[in-house]
């Protein structure tokens, strides 16, 4: 998400950057002292993790936009994707870039802070202020590293529910998310069916596919193959496995796009040169673009956190938690669903969304589903795709009416 995004969603670097080391102090400040609100959970409120560990103490960093109304009926929880964070609609404290979902959240947007109380928290295991492997382990005084317990998507949602309790909110008007955020949104309805009025699940699935697990494993192996990774103890030495993490990001980034989008944006064009150099320089624009994506990512993300969060997605399988019957997970729910997929998304293809919709239909849930035509790939959910924004807006609007929410004054 770094760099200058154009309408196609692809960023073009000015020149090919060299991969560089990140000073540890650049990273650690947001990890322990985030530039956002923080909820602290002490020894009396441990987070019960799926792996059997009670995590305590821990903290959740979050942002809010808008005001909670008197009857607390206008709260919307946004769940971020793998490398996202709580900075949905404000300037990012590390990169200085605009919020990552300003196409959907903001004045005049489907999620308008004038109407909704919008909450977004950094997931547990993240590196932007919620407790994760980059945080200090209070028991040792050192960075957690691989001593941090393995977390799952249900764990992320459990932590969010504790935050929502902490904010004094019983029922969320909506839970909204794309990709890993969509997985969390679905898990919310599965775990707390009565606490979610409407669910907007975008470009996601009810389980991680074998191909997606394979891509994640590729990324993790790239991180672990970096000598600076040092079995996750790089924090003690003040280094960061930036080369491995950059390669992981480059590989992952390809899966977020599409063949058509890459061809449209870069084709076989050369970067700042007319002829091939007959070397392994970034001759092609697409190479330069990928290197830029890799190097800018390591400036804002912790390598161990990347391992943990990809693992959480791999383990996600709603049907697996319900004797293999997906519809059983949604039995009797009253939440309104809107499921959206994108035609060129090959990471979470439409077939995955259809499987979800069929299960929801089979459990008599109230569900709308739209497949949006675009060549922008999985990343389309983060971009200005008017048809998607319209659908999301229409769904939230009608759900808002059903919930009895008033339109923003003066709007």
């Amino acid at each position: 998400m770094a760099g200058v995004r154009d309408m196609t969603g692809l960023t073009t670097p000015k020149s090919t950057p060299a991969l560089r080391t990140v000073a540890p102090e650049e990273r650690s400040h947001e990890v322990d002292h985030p530039s956002s609100l923080v909820a602290l959970f002490g020894a009396d409120k441990p987070l019960k993790l799926d792996c059997g560990v009670d995590l305590s103490p821990f903290q959740i960093a979050y942002q809010t936009y808008g005001e909670l109304n008197a009857d607390k009926s206008n709260a919307v929880l946004i769940c971020h994707a793998l490398t996202g964070d709580q900075h949905v609609a404000n300037r990012h404290p590390v990169t200085g870039k605009p919020g990552w979902w300003e196409t959907l959240v903001g004045p005049g947007r489907p999620l308008d802070p004038a109407r909704y109380f919008i909450i977004c928290s950094n997931v547990i295991g993240g590196c932007m202020g919620s407790t994760g492997p980059a945080s200090l382990n209070p028991a040792t005084g050192k960075v957690w590293g691989l001593d941090f317990p393995i977390i799952t998507i249900p764990d992320m949602v459990r932590a969010q529910a504790m935050l929502i309790d902490h904010l004094g909110i019983d029922t969320l008007f909506a839970v909204v998310g794309g990709s890993m955020g969509g997985m969390q949104a679905l898990q919310w309805t599965v775990a707390y069916p009565s606490r979610v009025f409407a669910n907007l699940a975008i470009a996601c699935a009810t389980r991680h596919s074998a191909q997606n697990i394979a891509f994640h494993e590729l990324g993790r192996q790239a991180v672990m193959a970096d000598p600076d990774w040092d079995h996750g103890r790089y924090g003690d030495k003040g280094v960061h496995p930036h080369r491995g993490l950059a390669v992981a990001r480059m590989a992952a980034h390809i899966t977020y796009l599409s063949d058509a989008a890459l061809h449209r944006k870069f084709g076989r064009r050369m970067q700042d040169r007319e002829l091939p150099t007959f070397s392994f320089d970034a001759d092609f624009q697409v190479e330069s673009y990928l290197r830029y994506q890799g190097s800018s990512f390591v400036e804002r993300f912790d390598a161990n956190s990347y391992l943990y969060l990809t693992r959480a997605m791999d383990y996600f399988d709603i049907a697996g938690d319900h004797d293999g019957v997906l519809a059983a997970a949604f039995r009797g729910i009253r939440t309104r669903f809107c499921v959206v997929s994108f035609t060129s998304d090959w990471l979470f293809p439409t077939a995955e969304s259809r499987a979800l919709v069929h299960a929801l239909n089979a459990s008599s849930a109230r569900v709308s589903f739209a497949e949006i035509e675009t060549d922008k790939g999985h990343d389309a959910f983060l971009l200005d795709v008017p048809e998607f924004i319209d659908i999301a807006g229409a769904f939230l609007e009608s759900a808002g009416k059903a919930r009895g929410l008033k339109a923003p004054t003066g709007g």
Binding site: R354, A362, R366, E397
Partner: protein, 221 residues
């Protein structure tokens, strides 16, 4: 058997009569309040909206993205899908009624679709353009070209309607697959029920649309 005669559109307010198409009002009058309905090919969601306003729990399937967008904007639960391919994924007895309005003639396998309707729903309501309507017959007989009317404006080479049938053909299909016809109504060019009790050939000649309420044939029949 002859078609049932007059089906008075009772139970609708004057406002409803103005706001909704007569064939939609007719279909809505066949659905019991409080039941659960799947409308296949629900278009812009007008019929679903009418049904929901009558206390019916409605769901829709629509092929076009535009249609889905309109429906979602109206707060309707509509999924994008295809009657030919997606009905197999619905469980048995999921709905009280399944409605197929002006869509049967555009499906690739109308017989399979019809069988699916009565698997998913206890009852089905099917409406379709009657290709035996006298104007269509006349155009083919006298004009010698594929018929086109206000309700069927497409040229033969770009029409979505690939499986036209007459009321007579449809009745035969229902007999063939053992479907029970509970009600049958023919509509005129304005979508109003023909108000005369007449034999089948008359409906097949003067009805522009057929509207059928179907149920599963009882076992041993």
């Amino acid at each position: 058997m002859s078609m049932q005669g007059v089906l008075p559109l009772s139970g609708f307010s004057g406002g409803e009569r103005l706001a909704y198409r007569p064939d939609h009002l007719l279909v809505a009058s066949m659905v019991e309040r409080g039941s659960k309905v799947l409308d296949i090919g629900c278009g812009d969601g007008d019929l679903l909206q009418l049904l929901e306003s009558r206390g019916i729990d409605g769901r829709g399937i629509e092929l076009s993205r535009e249609g889905v967008n309109h429906c979602v904007a109206k707060g309707l639960a509509v999924v994008q899908g295809d009657a030919d391919t997606d009905l197999n994924d619905y469980p048995d007895d999921a709905f009280d009624y399944v409605i197929l309005s002006q869509t049967l003639q555009a499906t690739r396998r109308p017989k399979t679709v019809l069988e699916n309707l009565l698997r998913i729903g206890r009852r089905a309501i099917v409406t379709f353009p009657n290709f035996g309507f006298w104007r269509l017959r006349l155009q083919l007989l006298v004009g010698g070209h594929m018929p086109r009317t206000d309700n069927l404006p497409f040229t033969w080479y770009d029409t979505p309607n690939i499986h036209f049938c007459t009321i007579k053909d449809f009745v035969q299909l229902c007999d063939e697959i053992g479907v029970k016809m509970e009600r049958a109504v023919a509509l005129d060019s304005y979508g109003r029920p023909l108000r005369v009790a007449m034999p089948w050939w008359f409906w097949n000649m003067f009805g522009e649309q057929g509207v059928f309420l179907l149920s599963r044939a009882e076992k041993g029949r």
